[in-house]
Subunit: 191 residues, 2 copies
Amino acid sequence: MAKRRASLTELEGCVLGTIAVRGPCTPYAIRREFQKSPSQHWSASAGAVYPLVLRLRHRGLLRIAQQSRDGRNGRLYALTAVGRRALREWIRPPFSSFTISVPPDPLRTRLGFFSVLTPGERRMFVTQARTQTKAHLLEVKRYTKRMESGGEVFEHLVSRGAQRMVEARLMWLAELRRAIPRTSDDPCRGS
Amino acid sequence: MAKRRASLTELEGCVLGTIAVRGPCTPYAIRREFQKSPSQHWSASAGAVYPLVLRLRHRGLLRIAQQSRDGRNGRLYALTAVGRRALREWIRPPFSSFTISVPPDPLRTRLGFFSVLTPGERRMFVTQARTQTKAHLLEVKRYTKRMESGGEVFEHLVSRGAQRMVEARLMWLAELRRAIPRTSDDPCRGS
DNA sequence: TCCATCATGTAAACAGTTACATGATTGC
DNA sequence: GCAATCATGTAACTGTTTACATGATGGA
C-alpha cells in the first residue's frame, strides 16, 4: 500500500544513510548532523526534515525504534529491512547520469556570462575568487585533518574529495588569470 | 511596484545571462540552450522557464524586444537597464558562501555511507565509478575541444573548469582505490 | 496530407525554505 | 524563576518537475 516510487532522492538517501551510520536517532539529531557539515547545499530546516522522515516511515523505510529516550520525548527512528535495501541500492552502481556528470559550480556558471563585464571587472572577479577560494581551502583542509586524526576513515576520504575539488577550482582560476587579460585590450598592464 | 527582492537565484541569473550573451531571444531558445549544455542540473522545462521569464518581466528586468520574428509568433525578450545591472551584480564579487564553498557531488555524498556496504561492494563502487567517470571525462574533453576550435573563449574556459572537476574526481577515485582495501579484511585480493 | 519541430503556456504534484508555535528539560 | 537548548511540528510561500493542451509552420 506504500510503494509507488522505488528510488530515493538525494536528501532521502542522506537521511537514511545518516540513520544507518549513526544508529537510531531523532529527526532533530539528523538536522544537527547536516548543519555541522561544511556543505552549504541543504539547510536541513525543520519543515524539510520532519515531513521527509514521515514520508519515509509511511513508505516503510523507517520505523520508530524507541518511543522515548532519557526523559526527552524524542522518537528514535531506525531503518527497516526494506529501508536498508533501498539505501544500498541508492548508494551502489550503476550510477545515473545525474550522479556521474560534472557537479554544478556557481563560480563556473558565472564565467559563462563574462562578456557582460568590463576587462577590469573580469580581473577583479578572478583575483577575488582566488582569495576567497584559498581561504575556503584552508577551512576544508582543517576539516580533513580533523577527520583524519578522528579515525573516521570514510569521513576523511569524503573530505579529501571535497579538498581535491576546491584545489581543482583554484588551479582553474590560475588558468583563468593567465587567459583572461589576453582576451581583450587591457590598458592596466604594462608588459 | 515590483521590487521586493534585490538578488537573483542561480536560474534567474542564468536566464538573464543567456539573453545578455546571445542577444534577444525567445524562452524556447533559452530552453534549448540549457538542454544542449552538458550540465544535468536543470531540466529547463516549460513549466519552469515561462513563469520565470514572466517573473523577470514583472520585476522590470526583462522587456519584450519584438512581438514576432520571421513568421513564428515567438516573443523575443531582452534585458532592461535594470536587468543588466542586476545580472552584473549577480556575477560580480563578493561571492556568497554558497558560491564559493565546495560544490555538492552525489558520488562523494554516497561515500559518506560506505559503512553499510560490504568490502566487495565497496570495491565494485570504486571500479564502476572510475569506469563511468573516465567515459564522462572523454565527453567533456570533446566538448572542451569543440569550444576551443569554435573560438568561444569563455565557453572554452567554462568547459576547462568542468574538465578539471572531473579530473579531480578521477584522482580522488584512484586515492579511494588505494585506501579502501586496507580498511577491512579482504579475502579477494592476493598480495 | 501528415509529421516533426517551433512556440507558448497551464495544472497538479511535490520539495524545500522561512517563520512561527508549542512544550519539555537542563543549568544557572 | 528564567534562559538556553532539545524536540516536534505546521503554515504560507516559492520554485521545479511532469504531463498535458494548443496551435502554427515547414518539409516530405
